[in-house]
């Protein structure tokens, strides 16, 4: 059959969906990790133990000001190659680098989760915490039963912004050779001629990942916000 020249022929031989799937995996795993670690940091930061408070404040201030690229490269060169941390990846470098990238993304993003959550705690009226204390609840109970549930409902919007930024930040994992979207794009751009088309495909992929996240979570945020 006389095959008509297909404009998308350049995609042949490249695992485009696979690369974006790695991006999605990086995003989801890091999102869960940074939500947990960010919440722990927030609890330390507003808690009664001075040393933990100082640690969390220092952590956030330092990590916020380091480029993510430095953190992820350091995870690879420092943690893995110098200190010999493999994160249970054995001697499979792809697995190790993927896990190191997740670790770096969690370390970085949790600082921003902590900031957003702290801002959320400030939106909870003082009377809520005072009432909870008047009932005799301890700090842990005040935080986990009364304040944080309301704070989480207030920060869905800002958290959506953090999640979108995280999605975009997963491309930094290209610096240590994780086979995600940006790595594939660099390879394709170097080997194929259709620069504009390739870029459009990748741009479209990221728009597909980020725009719905913003819209859905924006809607959810309005839905669950505590009306005051």
């Amino acid at each position: 059959m006389e095959a008509r020249e297909n404009v998308f022929d350049f995609l042949e031989g490249y695992d485009l969906l696979g690369a974006f799937w790695v991006t999605v995996q990086l995003t989801l795993l890091s999102a869960v990790g940074s939500l947990v670690w960010g919440t722990v940091l927030t609890a330390m930061r507003v808690g009664p133990v001075p040393l933990l408070r100082g640690f969390a404040t220092g952590y956030v201030n330092v990590v916020r000001n380091i480029p993510l690229t430095v953190i992820i490269l350091f995870a690879s060169l420092g943690l893995s190659q110098t200190l010999g941390v493999t994160l249970g990846g054995g001697d499979n470098f792809d697995t190790i680098n993927f896990r190191l990238a997740v670790l770096g993304l969690v370390a970085y993003t949790s600082a921003f989760v902590c900031e957003a959550l702290r801002a959320g705690i400030n939106t909870v009226p003082v009377g809520q915490a005072e009432a909870a204390r008047a009932l005799g609840l301890s700090f842990t109970q005040v935080l986990s039963l009364v304040v944080l549930p309301q704070a989480f409902r207030a920060v869905v919007g800002p958290m959506a912004n953090v999640l979108i930024a995280l999605t975009k930040n997963t491309t930094v994992a290209a610096a240590i050779g994780v086979a995600e979207a940006a790595t594939l794009m660099k390879e394709m751009v170097e080997n194929e001629a259709q620069l504009i088309l390739i870029s459009a495909v990748f741009a479209f992929g990221f728009v597909c990942l980020t725009l719905p996240t913003g819209m859905v979570l924006g809607w959810v945020g309005k839905k669950v916000a505590v009306k005051r």
Binding site: V62, F112, P158, L166, S199, F206, L211
Partner: protein, 297 residues
Amino acid sequence: MSSVLYDAQGPRAKQRNVLFTGVFLVAAAALLWWVFSSLSDKGQLDWEKWKPFVGTEAWTTYVLPGLENTLIAAGVAMLIALPLGAVLGIARLSDHRWVRVPAGMLVEFFRAIPVLILMIFGLALYSEYSNVGSDDRPLYAVITGLVLYNASVLAEIVRAGILSLPKGQTEAAHAIGLRKTQTMVSILLPQAVTAMLPAIVSQLVVIVKDTALGGAVLTFPELLASANTMSAYYGANTIASFTVVAVIFVALNFSLTTFAGWLEKRLRSRKKSSGAVLSADDAAAQGAPGAGTGATL
């Protein structure tokens, strides 16, 4: 708020504080000991590896030129992105649909795409369709990526700054017979700029951080890339080089963040302008739903 969350500490709570502090200290000490012992096993703490940073050679040959490139890329990107962002932001507020809608689409599009993708695109673009020398291409590509992304973020900041002004300002301007352009240029923008200053300084932190991408992926010889060259030249002193570079980044960005905070406080207390003062977070929160910016992420 923090003191509202727990009662004044009694003897038992104080005991518990001491316990938590102790446990944390032991865990931290164990971690530090592990790091230090593994580092010295690998010889990374040897004086040989750190000595270059005491002399001037490492600084004048590697660190300072790298820092210079970082600052040049960040500065030029900011200088181009700021006017472009202002134009886009104002265009998004236009009364004309054919100006407002394309500007909005442009802003939302470039905010939704990772800056690294834009940089890779820029690098390939310059090598295929321009006669920029191959040494300059990474710099051009980094600046292109940073401008495209940050102009659209700044556009949102400008828009939020103008929208934060009270409606009376526009109405009064129209009442004394100013045209739309005059209202924007001589009434709204000057007041909005003061309100936006802290957010703009915070955005500079983002730009400085993103230049490191150019070093890691595009072979742009900035500060982070200089750490790689150094550790190759001084016999694999990876830890020493990276520590120095990270400290410089933190110092630079921390002073910018502190300056932004000071500016915001000062502007808020001055109360001269009628508008609110925007921090980076406010600007992100007021931006249209969709692709967000996430403050200084």
